[in-house]
């Protein structure tokens, strides 16, 4: 860091004026202010501010002409105070947790917590608790069909679940083979407004839904598109597109892509361009939109998909509502009521622009009218059980963080990634580990505040007070220090006890993390992830190598953090694995199927060479 400060300092000599052109938000302001203060000889007092949301030449030129000379000291103080509180709580508590476990002499593991990480982990652990203690309760549903005009249609019984077996049996017995009366046919038109423009969270959620991208990957891709001047600044919580971004100009730019041309042409003929702005606002940036600039080279993979999603969403938000007609036929037999539902899209509206990112749930209906008497073809009760709540996935956890006002649009995705890196959660459906449970337990005893979502919410209010000038950075920090001191003292007293509990779980998790559930197919002993002493490569080896001489091995991906999943392969039943690299979609695979495919794919000439190569590479298990 000192080197960077020296380099910037050496460049910043004999400068007439300084312009802070960092991102226009709290973080950007703090970064620019700090650089100007420490590397540019206190130039923060006289520097001008350049405000822009897209990297297009037009906006940059405009921002350069409209430089702001107003000091943003209160904004910077609020940003700095946020960082300092994060350091105070995060660094001290994380270090204490890590060191208390390390002092037990059973190996090192980085343990961390923080103002945002603590409550986020708390959500996952709490959900795991609910699932772990879940007791299912039986229920019954009625599955029935009618035959009409040679087609079979499924009916819905008036109660979607029945709590007793006897009641379900009575319904089936009474209605078996019965002739139903069509009592009414209800038709309803529903207008569905076009989607709001994307803020970062809704973009991350949509990209996860359609492409399976983790929130961190979506942010990384969006930032690349922003740096290429293809989209506006992505770290925004706004769902509003102001007119001054120039809707028509952007659409004309988008029309340079052949696939969007007819859509843009249609949109231009629809009259006034008015986006369906959402309720969320961000004072610094508008919602995410394509700039209309053409990419310098062809966009590939994830970037191309994300650009397409953003462009189509932009067009869709200007379009008319869609219109759907829903129909419901009500059929009776004695006191039993059945429904037959269907729907069809009458007017596509925005759906035409947002395809293929919208699901068509249209369902055809039979041509039934009042007085018709279709006969029940088949009826049976199906025993089911109530289901435990779903585990969070990265997208739903991000949504939860947003709903609870935990973290910022810029940090949420990286916090979720951190939970994986620390070994607190695993799998795409986030399963809390025992370590997560233990860390959460320790913190809930000694420092419940760090797990409390309202702590962060209060902090945001304090930040706002600093920005408004009704509180000061110093006052907030002094209060926080007083609070933290008492926590640290009580934790330090129990350091050995806490460390012992944590290290026990760390060791158990470390062993479990590399040991497969399924035994070795050759000798029946345990299979584990081992690393070659010679090549340093990892692979699956049998623990029986030294006892029984078992030489069973399977290859593993060499890149990314490896997790053994609880899922099993649909083809061969072997335990699945996940390799997770930073900013990339996790690679989930079955090691046994991969090995079989790789073996089959090798040409016969190479197959002859394989044994000697394997013999050289097959390492001793560690």
């Amino acid at each position: 860091m000192a080197r960077w400060v020296r380099v910037i300092g050496s460049i910043a000599t004999n400068i007439g004026r300084f312009i802070n052109a960092c991102d226009y938000d709290i973080e950007g302001s703090v970064i620019g202010h700090t650089i100007l203060q420490y590397a540019c000889d206190g130039a923060h007092t006289s520097a001008l501010r350049m405000k822009f949301s897209t990297m297009t030449e037009r906006e940059l030129r405009f921002a350069f002409q409209k430089l702001d000379s107003k000091p943003e000291l209160s904004l910077v103080n609020a940003g700095k105070c946020r960082h300092e509180l994060d350091w105070l709580y995060g660094i001290n508590l994380s270090r204490l947790l890590t060191e208390s476990a390390l002092k037990q002499g059973r190996g090192y593991a980085t343990l961390s917590t923080g103002r945002v990480q603590g409550p986020t982990l708390g959500f996952v652990v709490e959900r795991e608790e609910e699932i772990s203690c879940f007791v299912p309760v039986p229920l019954w549903t009625i599955n029935s069909t009618i035959l009409h005009d040679g087609k079979i249609y499924s009916l819905e019984y008036e109660k979607d679940k029945i709590a007793s077996q006897s009641e379900a049996k009575i319904v089936c017995d009474e209605c078996r083979g019965a002739v139903l009366d069509v009592r009414s046919v209800e038709s309803r038109d529903t207008q569905q407004h076009s989607p709001y423009p994307f803020d970062l969270s809704s973009l991350q959620s949509e990209a996860y839904r359609h492409f399976g991208n983790s929130p961190a990957r979506t942010l990384a891709l969006a930032e690349r598109l922003y740096l290429d001047a293809l989209i506006s600044y992505p770290r925004t919580s706004s769902q509003k597109l102001p007119p001054d971004i120039g809707y028509a100009e952007i659409l004309k730019g988008i029309a340079s892509h052949a696939e969007y041309r007819p859509l843009v042409a249609k949109l231009m003929t629809e009259g006034d361009l008015r986006p369906n702005n959402g309720p969320k606002e961000d004072p610094a940036h508008p919602a995410i939109f394509p700039t209309g600039e053409s990419p310098k080279g062809p966009l590939l993979g994830g970037e191309a998909k994300l650009y397409d999603l953003i462009s189509r969403r932009f067009m869709a938000t200007f379009s008319d509502p869609s219109l759907k007609t829903s129909l419901r036929v009500i059929l009776n037999h004695n006191n039993y009521r059945f429904f037959l539902s269907g729907s069809r899209i009458v007017k596509l509206g925005w759906i035409e622009f947002y395809r293929p990112y919208v699901f068509d749930d249209s369902r055809p209906l039979p041509d039934l009218k009042i007085g018709d008497r279709p006969k029940i073809r088949d009826i049976k009760s199906v025993e089911k059980f109530t289901q435990p709540p779903h585990r969070y996935n990265p997208s739903s956890l991000l949504k939860k963080m947003e709903d609870m006002n935990i973290g910022t649009k810029a940090t949420r995705a990286s916090i979720i990634d951190l939970l994986y890196r620390r070994g607190y959660v695993r799998d795409e459906r986030m399963k809390a580990s025992e370590l997560a449970d233990k860390v959460n337990e320790v913190l809930s005893v000694y420092c419940p505040l760090i797990l409390d979502p309202s702590f962060t919410a209060n902090l945001e209010n304090l930040m706002q007070d600093i920005q408004n000038g009704t509180s000061s950075r110093r006052r907030v920090l002094v209060e926080a220090l007083d609070h933290l001191r008492s926590i640290m003292l009580s934790l330090a007293e129990k350091e050995e006890e806490v460390g012992s509990q944590l290290s026990e779980v760390i060791v158990a998790q470390r062993v479990a993390g590399v040991t497969f559930e399924l035994p070795c197919p050759k000798c029946g002993l345990k299979l584990a992830v081992v690393r070659s002493r010679g090549s340093g490569k990892r692979f699956i080896g049998c623990n029986g190598k030294w006892q029984t001489g078992c030489d069973f091995t399977l290859p593993l991906p060499q890149l990314g953090n490896l997790t053994l999943l609880t899922r099993h392969c649909n083809v061969c039943g072997f335990q699945m694995i996940q390799a997770r690299s930073k900013g990339r979609r996790p690679l989930v695979s079955c090691p046994r199927c991969y090995a079989t495919k790789a073996r089959d794919a090798k040409p016969s000439s190479k197959r002859i060479e394989t044994p000697s190569r394997i013999a050289r590479e097959t390492p001793s298990a560690t």
Binding site: S132, V135, P136, P138, S164, Q387, V445
Partner: protein
């Protein structure tokens, strides 16, 4: 912080699962009309929806029927 139920030897987490298992019995009884708690436990232990901790409690109750108070 969870408080361990003084009437049981179970930890706080298993105590919670225990009370959920016990609470669910009345719903199962009403659902099937007639069901002994032994049959209830036998069915519950094999259901994939049953949570891990709840399943541990069910196994414990199957092996220690006297703890079904």
């Amino acid at each position: 912080m969870k408080i361990v139920d003084a009437n049981t030897d179970l930890c706080a987490n298993h105590s919670e699962a225990y009370s959920k298992v016990k609470g669910a019995y009345s719903l199962w009884f009403a659902a099937y009309g007639n069901l002994t708690h032994e049959d209830f436990l036998k069915r519950l232990v094999v259901l994939p929806e049953t949570g891990d901790r709840a399943r541990e409690v069910v196994r414990f109750l199957i092996h220690n029927p006297e703890r079904w108070k």
